[in-house]
């Protein structure tokens, strides 16, 4: 129905128009974007939804090549569900590993924050720390 211009989609997604065109060139869109009167891109709600998925995948560290691979599978249609599942599972593992790493980092930082708060008298308890 609606039909959004690239500018509107940029607004909604937070991606720049440059990046939207770039993602399209990179084959990240599940369907080819419709074109309007003057060859201008006309995005559907589905396009925007799909971009939302891509943005989430990117934000969680999936490289563009992997997103393209997944997109290709989706575009190819039924019959490759096992492959899609494989891609998703692999990424889920990476995300979990990343979360674990972040958790470790958070511990370290929180410890150091505590140390400096103590040193600055922002805390009552005093902890010792190497650095």
């Amino acid at each position: 129905m609606s039909g959004l211009s690239i500018g509107q989609v940029a607004e909604r997604t937070g991606l720049s128009t440059h990046t939207l065109r770039f993602y399209e060139r990179e084959g990240l869109l599940a369907q080819p974007v419709r074109r309007g009167s003057a060859g201008h891109r006309v995005y559907s709600e589905d396009d925007v939804d799909w971009l939302g998925v891509c943005i989430r995948l990117r934000a969680s560290g999936m490289p563009l090549t992997d997103i393209r691979r997944y997109t290709d599978l989706v575009r190819a249609g039924q019959g490759n569900e096992a492959e899609r599942l494989e891609v998703l599972r692999r990424h889920r593992e990476r995300v979990l590993a990343q979360m674990h790493e972040l958790d470790e980092c958070l511990k370290l930082i929180t410890h150091k924050v505590g140390v400096y708060e103590s040193r600055l008298g922002l805390r009552d308890d005093v902890v010792e720390c190497v650095q």
Copy 2:
């Protein structure tokens, strides 16, 4: 005591010797690395510990410039604890935001994994999904 060669430190930290020299040039080391007989780097345990911190900070997405800034503060010695605290707190916020983002992503992926497992008959319950 010990005194490790760049190769040994590479082995221990998982960083390449190239990267170790690069980090040093970038000012990421709290103390200047000692040099041995032929001008070869001789790392102390403290150096390796500090590198460990840098690696954690990098792994959690802190840019090298920020790590350098923090390192500069540490190297400058006492008196700038408030600034160090500020750097750490800011990074902690970023890490928390990142964890939240990863969590959202994980939900999405887990949902999709569930969908494909259903489609492939790896599950009993069937869920519907747009893509």
